[in-house]
């Protein structure tokens, strides 16, 4: 046999080894990704606490004389709620420490990115991260930390407390980057973020000291998303298995505390035999709490007293096969005991362990499923409505998950977990950003793909300050600008499939399209999260949105065309009628020119004639 060594690696080490996946493949991309992660965390933090964000980003070269790639100090400061000083070391010094695990729309996921950036900075420069946080607005805690990659633990180098004037968080890292290459993307990122976050003030100070300042355009924040239960279509077997596990009434841990509780409820002070306990139990049953009943039911089958109970560990209660398996510490051995279905305790135990009925499970644990729908589903899936989900075999679970996907009578997912920007802020953002001659925005109603709700918001802007250099698409997903991998994106596909000439758009139009997709799960094509895949449901929504807006644009174009035409017409008659008059006068042999003024006026006011 070959000799292999298995060793566990920490999450930090895993990410260190796989940093390409998270967008840290080279100094250019890493600088850009780091900016993104910190800015998005800052915006998310403000959004959650309904604070109008005021974000300050700066990138400074450590040694300006050096050539790229070189070391940069990246600092992002916000006016958010800050982080309780207790949590700061873990939040920034541990990978996979975060609060973003609920099902709602947020910019980042899991809070991995910021720590990744810190990790990347430390790897490339061996410099610590500096975090300043004030959560009470009075004092500010400053931590200077390194990350212990192997142990996935923060190493605090310095910590001191200062006075503070307001809440907020500031993170500063030193990292290897290439601003000469990443600069244009970062500037695009900042400006486009300000477009899709018109309620935020964003300032960016670049390495040359130039400041890009984007003041907030609207004072109202869009309503924040709420955390909701999953939709049946959005659940796979594994997710469902986890849901079932925590829907169980777990076998309560049998410790001294529990034994105390049982004694108290039974009213027995002294140590008594198993038999005595069960007798007492039968008398007192109605007054006992559920966990106590469960433990006592187990004891009845094992026939043990409290002392005996302390020597074993219950491993499994398999109701389907009517067996209890336990580990005996004294004997260091596994035992199993048959359950007698005739015993009065059997029902108690099986109810506890088997969990809810299928109908209850469906209505309690999923969004928008009522009893009627649940019953209908059971019929569809060929399960009994009263079937206990804890008693299902693996195969049945797969069958159930499969049926959940296929059943078509579930209501559409609840979009309350989404936070679209809203038509008014989007419109204001577009007006301010592009200063166009025409703009129109649309928010489609919520739709869903595979159980994940999404909303498409779109805007078009035409003319004005927009250069006539052809159609440009600004893509956003969950209020994040998407800048890379444009070519393979579904939005671009939809835009390119449009026959623009049908909407009176020709040549290289001064035309901008802003597309914003909000979803609890954006169907990204790649882990880089820069291009959205083409799901049919999403495609349909995008198409409807763009066609609606294009029609609006076409109306504007023809109105504009009519106005241009009237002007052109007036110019033409003013130019040609006097000429005709001059020629006719000489040709007819007259001395004085005719009175042609009225004809110029008539010509200018004529409606377009159809030949």
């Amino acid at each position: 046999m070959s000799k292999e060594t298995f060793s566990q690696i920490s999450p930090s080490e895993f990410f260190y080894r796989n940093r390409d996946l998270a967008g840290f493949s080279n100094p250019t991309r890493s600088l850009y990704t780091s900016v993104r992660e910190f800015v998005e965390n800052a915006l998310d933090a403000c959004d959650q606490k309904k604070i109008l964000p005021d974000i300050h980003l700066s990138i400074k070269a450590v040694d300006a004389e050096q050539s790229d790639p070189k070391h940069y100090v990246l600092t992002v400061r916000d006016n958010g709620p800050g982080i309780d000083p207790k949590h700061v070391p873990h939040a920034f010094g541990t990978v996979l420490y975060g609060s973003k695990f609920g099902l709602k729309q947020a910019r980042g996921m899991f809070g991995l990115g910021a720590t990744m950036a810190i990790l990347y900075g430390q790897i490339t420069t061996n410099k610590p991260v500096t975090v300043r946080s004030s959560s009470d607005g009075k004092t500010s805690d400053e931590f200077v930390m390194l990350l212990d990659i192997q142990k996935n633990k923060p190493v605090i180098l310095k910590h001191h407390v200062k006075e503070a004037a307001k809440t907020g968080l500031s993170v500063s890292i030193v990292l290897e980057g290439d601003y000469s290459k990443a600069g244009s993307k970062i500037r695009d990122y900042v400006s486009q973020t300000s477009l899709i976050t018109p309620y935020a003030t964003i300032t960016f100070e670049d390495p040359s000291g130039e400041k890009f300042h984007y003041p907030r355009i609207v004072k109202d924040m869009p309503p924040p998303p709420t955390i909701i239960k999953p939709h049946p279509h959005g659940v796979d077997v594994e997710t469902m298995r986890r849901m079932i596990v925590d829907t169980h009434y777990q076998i309560p841990p049998v410790d001294n505390k529990m034994i105390e509780k049982i004694r108290k409820e039974l009213g027995q002070k002294k140590n008594v035999s198993a038999k005595e306990i069960l007798e007492r139990t039968q008398k007192k049953w109605a007054d006992l709490s559920r966990p106590v009943r469960t433990v006592l039911a187990v004891m009845s089958f094992l026939n043990v007293d409290f002392e005996g109970l302390q020597k074993i560990r219950i491993d499994d209660i398999d109701v389907a096969n009517k067996k209890i398996t336990y580990w005996d510490f004294g004997e260091s051995q596994t035992h199993s005991v048959d359950l007698d279905p005739e015993s009065p305790y059997y029902k108690q135990l099986s109810n506890t362990v088997q969990g809810d009925t299928l109908v209850t499970f469906l209505t309690k644990r999923f969004q928008r499923v009522g009893p009627t729908t649940a019953e209908k589903f059971c019929e569809f899936a060929k399960f009994k409505p009263e079937r206990r989900i804890g008693s299902m075999t693996n195969e049945e679970l797969v069958k159930l998950a499969d049926a959940l996907q296929k059943f078509e009578d579930f209501l559409a997912p609840d979009p309350s977990c989404l936070a679209p920007l809203g038509e008014e802020p989007l419109s204001k953002g577009i007006m301010k950003f592009f200063n166009p001659e025409f703009a129109s925005v649309l928010q489609r109603s919520a739709s869903a793909y595979s159980g994940f709700p999404f909303i498409v918001e779109m805007g078009v802007a035409y003319g004005g300050d927009i250069p006539a250099s052809g159609l440009k698409v600004y893509r956003f997903a969950n209020r994040i600008p998407l800048l890379y991998d444009e070519g393979s994106d579904v939005v671009l596909k939809i835009v390119n499939e449009m026959d623009w000439s049908r909407y009176k758009i020709k040549g290289d139009p001064p035309l901008v399209i802003v597309s914003h997709i909000c979803s609890t799960r954006i169907p990204y094509k790649t882990v880089g999260k820069e291009n959205v895949a083409d799901r049919p449901e999403l495609e349909r929504e995008l198409k409807n949105a763009i066609q609606y807006l294009a029609r609006k644009l076409a109306v504007h174009m023809s109105r504009q065309g009519a106005a241009d035409m009237a002007k052109k017409r007036a110019n033409l008659y003013a130019k040609y009628v006097p000429l005709i008059s001059q020629f006719a006068t000489e040709l007819s042999g007259k001395k004085k020119e005719p009175n042609y003024k009225q004809l110029i006026k008539m010509g200018s006011e004529l409606e377009e004639q159809i030949q």
Binding site: K568, R569, L572, Y573, K575, Y576, V577, L579, I580, S581, Q582, F583, A584, T585, E586, L587, S588, G589, K590, P594, N595, Y596, Q598, L599, M602, G603, L606, E608, Q609, Q611
Partner: protein, 366 residues
């Protein structure tokens, strides 16, 4: 002398008629403007649908369809103004006895803020005015830039201002005389010729002069320089009608050569709005498709467009019978063509010594 006074009289009458037509248009436009109406021109339609072949007068003519060009229509306003300007400008040319060319018209327009995009556009407006007034542009004193030549014993008398009464004989200058405005308006006084030979190419025209074809065949030689310009066709018609001279045509041995002869004989679709440009009795001497084999001429293969042109002409009513039809068929069968110069293979004078007399003899039976 009787001819002369007649000619002058008709020319004078036509000039007066044209001027009065133009003035009437001027008055109509003037009154429309004065009374707040949009002036318009009614133009016989020159669209393909309105061009029909009139068997009686043996040429293409326009049908009855009329198009209105109105200043009320914004998209026509510009071309309406161009047409009004041209009427105005032609009025000046004719009144003052000045001549112009197609190209000159294009450039002159700029002085009056009339913007023609290119010369084809102004050429088109000239044709419009021809149709409106039913007069050829030569009467407007507008001539094409390219000119063909004439040589032979023909005495003419100028009528152009400054040369009135002056006479020249067209055999005085071996290069021939340009068929320009002065010659076109001149009186044809006297000739000893009994025949007019129209020839497609300048090179052979010179050869014919050198070879004394005008003496040998008692002929006037006309160089058509390819497709004959209208002033040349007009001269050929006058030589035929006024002096009673038969007209024969020599052109390249291909479908285009055949059509050059046809246009001299019965006009072109392009000039369907005009009369008196045709020589209905003109004869096409050659080079026929059948001559290519008969005279064993060196040939070159036809191009795609040559062949397409044959198919096009086969749809033309004038090619539906006789020799015209037969030659097209032979060309199509041969799929080869021969130039007039092909005769040089048998010596430089072969065409004048052998071919021409033979064909003239042959033509008598046509």
């Amino acid at each position: 002398m009787k001819n002369k006074s007649n000619r002058q009289k008709t020319a004078e009458a036509r000039k007066e008629k044209l001027l009065s037509v133009l003035q009437q248009h001027g008055i109509n436009i003037y009154n429309d403007l004065d009374q707040g109406r949009f002036p318009q021109f009614v133009i016989p339609s020159r669209s393909v649908n309105n061009i029909v072949y009139d068997k009686k007068i043996r040429q293409y003519i326009l049908g009855n369809a009329r198009a209105v060009r109105s200043s009320r229509n914004m998209s026509q306003l510009r071309s309406y103004t161009q047409l009004a300007w041209l009427a105005f400008f032609v009025n000046r040319l004719v009144r003052e006895g000045k001549s112009s060319t197609l190209r000159d018209i294009y450039y002159s327009s700029q002085a009056f803020s009339i913007d023609f995009e290119d010369q084809p556009e102004s050429d088109n407006i000239i044709v419009d005015l021809e149709a409106v007034t039913s007069s050829p542009r030569e009467e407007f004193h507008i001539f094409p830039e390219e000119r063909s030549s004439v040589f032979g014993d023909l005495t003419i008398e100028y009528t152009v201002p400054g040369y009135e009464g002056k006479r020249v004989n067209l055999s005085d200058h071996p290069d021939g005389y340009l068929i320009g405005p002065s010659l076109s308006s001149a009186e044809l006084v006297d000739t000893s010729a009994e025949l007019v030979i129209a020839i497609e190419k300048g090179g052979l025209f010179t050869r014919f002069v050198e070879e004394n074809v005008h003496k040998k065949f008692k002929s006037i030689i006309v160089d058509t320089a390819g497709q004959a310009p209208r002033s040349t066709r007009s001269l050929l018609r006058r030589l035929n009608q006024e002096l009673g001279l038969p007209v024969v045509i020599l052109a390249d041995g291909d479908v285009y050569g055949e059509h050059i002869a046809m246009v001299i004989k019965s006009g072109s679709a392009n000039a369907a709005h005009l009369r008196e440009l045709t020589v209905p009795d003109a004869k096409w001497l050659g080079v026929w498709a059948t001559d290519i084999e008969k005279y064993k001429l060196p040939t070159i293969p036809m191009t795609e467009s040559d062949i397409k042109r044959i198919y096009d002409l086969q749809k033309d009513p004038r090619y539906q019978e006789g020799n015209w039809k037969k030659q097209l068929e032979v060309f199509l069968k041969l799929k080869r063509k021969a130039e007039l110069e092909a005769f040089s293979k048998y010596g430089l004078t072969n065409i004048t010594d052998k071919y021409l007399p033979a064909k003239l003899e042959e033509s008598k039976s046509l």
